[in-house]
């Protein structure tokens, strides 16, 4: 509309990559956040993206890509926002801006059965931990003095533990639960370390220029939180409410 009032209200739309569409970058190979079910993209962040877009009067479009492509694509305006279980950190804040957190991710420590030397985060000092490059898990493991062995994904990390090639992995509790739903966890031990390490704030990641879009997203997020949608999604995918 040509109405000046509505154009100022809608001015975030000029920051969109594609008219009328919220383009969302995610990996699509990261259960339960975003993954394929029978070829169809689904997951917590996929549904969240859909709901956010609808709230903002937009259509959601998902662009699944590799981890390094996610960050680079935001820089070169390939997507409007990245929803990929991203933790807010000061280093990342230098180059990008964040939405308000939509979940709080608890850390878990997975070890091998029969290896009792690791039970808490403190025990990983000097041990080999399999972590995805650039993930917050890697950061936590590093902070606790572990030696990092790069690993492509969660399953690979578990293989590495089972094959005695590493000692443990720090990961999101949610990833473990999702894996457990359909797979045997024989030979692995799960340790809840949420008391040791504050949960990570999981946020949407924006290009620095998209300030208006961020405000609008935050508004939509607030609405979804208030009307219980966010909680419902959390229950559905994580089996618990981790939005607080």
């Amino acid at each position: 509309s040509s109405n000046s009032k509505s154009s100022s209200k809608d001015s975030y739309k000029s920051e969109l990559n594609q008219k009328g569409t919220l383009t969302i970058g995610l990996e699509g190979t990261y259960s339960p956040y975003s993954y394929r079910k029978d070829g169809k993209l689904t997951g917590f962040e996929v549904e969240l993206g859909n709901k956010l877009a609808r709230e903002m009067g937009l259509k959601a479009k998902f662009v699944p890509t590799k981890w390094d492509g996610l960050v680079a694509g935001l820089g070169s305006n390939k997507y409007d926002v990245v929803l990929n279980n991203i933790t807010a950190t000061p280093a990342r804040a230098k180059s990008y801006i964040f939405s308000k957190p939509y979940i709080y991710s608890r850390y878990a420590l997975i070890t091998r059965q029969g290896d009792d030397s690791i039970k808490t985060l403190k025990d990983v000092k000097g041990k080999k931990l399999a972590e995805g490059t650039g993930t917050n898990n890697e950061l936590v493991a590093k902070q606790n003095g572990a030696t990092i062995v790069p690993s492509g994904d969660f399953v690979t990390s578990l293989s590495l533990i089972r094959q005695k090639r590493v000692d443990a992995t720090v990961n999101a509790r949610e990833a473990w639960y999702s894996y457990k739903k359909t797979n045997s966890t024989e030979g692995l031990v799960y340790h809840d370390v949420s008391s040791e390490k504050e949960p990570a704030k999981i946020v949407g990641l924006f290009n620095k220029k998209s300030t208006k879009l961020r405000s609008e997203t935050n508004k939509a997020l607030k609405t979804l939180r208030a009307d219980g949608t966010l909680k419902k999604l959390s229950q559905k995918y994580f089996g618990a409410d981790i939005t607080e």
């Binding site: 190979t29 699944p64 590799k66 820089g75 390939k78 399953v155």
Partner: protein, 232 residues
């Protein structure tokens, strides 16, 4: 395990037919054209300002042969948007993933194949040029009627190798958001948590495609070399 394979195979084949194969074929054809142009420019004996053109092509070949393909894809897709050219592309050069992928694969293939084609043209005996010139043919006529038809035969095996390599390299397109066969296998692995099975399955599909190509190569070699079958 069998249900995984039965479930996954159709999805992989669809992705292969939708992306892997078309991207490979289109990129290879474009790459061949580029390779031919590059080879001809580099072989040209023209002097003067033409030498600048030759230097440019030499640089192009060097650049694309000495950097990883993944990085090339990345820069074309994610880097070019930063390249703002007043008048032509004031907002930076923004390509769709498919276009960026095909351009990069073509440039890469073109760089490698130009060396193959250059060598194959050089391998044709000087006497063939002279016989053509002696008839009053121009350089371009000699090239198109006499030299290239013979060079094709020589360059077929290495070009086929490049094509087979390209088919496998298209798996890198996943990093610029193209959901080709390899990426689909990883997506399925993320769902069923069986990456090893998925890897074997996708490897088998690549092997089928590559074997088909090898067979095609053998057939083409036979066709193009019908005139040397009796030579020793």
């Amino acid at each position: 395990m069998w249900d995984i394979i039965v479930n996954a195979t159709p999805q992989l084949v669809v992705a292969g037919l939708k992306y892997t194969i078309p991207i490979s074929i289109v990129s290879f054809l474009l790459g061949l054209i580029l390779a031919l142009i590059t080879a001809l420019v580099r072989l040209s004996t023209k002097k003067g300002p033409f030498r600048i053109l030759k230097a440019i092509f030499r640089f192009y070949v060097w650049l694309f042969r000495s950097t990883p393909l993944l990085v090339q894809l990345f820069i074309v897709y994610f880097g070019l948007p930063y390249l703002k050219i007043a008048g032509i592309a004031p907002d930076g050069i923004k390509l769709t993933p498919l276009v960026a992928g095909i351009i990069t694969f073509s440039l890469n293939t073109g760089a490698y194949c130009s060396e193959t084609i250059r060598a194959s043209i050089l391998s044709i005996p000087k006497g063939q040029w002279e016989a053509a010139y002696s008839m009053g043919m121009t350089r371009s006529k000699a090239l198109s009627r006499i030299i290239l038809p013979q060079a094709v035969r020589v360059s077929l095996p290495p070009l086929a190798n490049s094509f087979i390599g390209l088919v496998k390299d298209t798996s890198l397109a996943a990093s610029i958001t193209i959901v080709e066969m390899f990426e689909v296998s990883q997506q399925i692995a993320a769902e069923n948590y069986q990456p090893l099975i998925m890897y074997c399955l996708v490897a088998a599909l690549y092997a089928v495609a590559c074997s088909l190509l090898s067979w095609l190569q053998g057939y083409l070699e036979k066709v193009t070399s019908r005139y040397v079958t009796n030579a020793d």
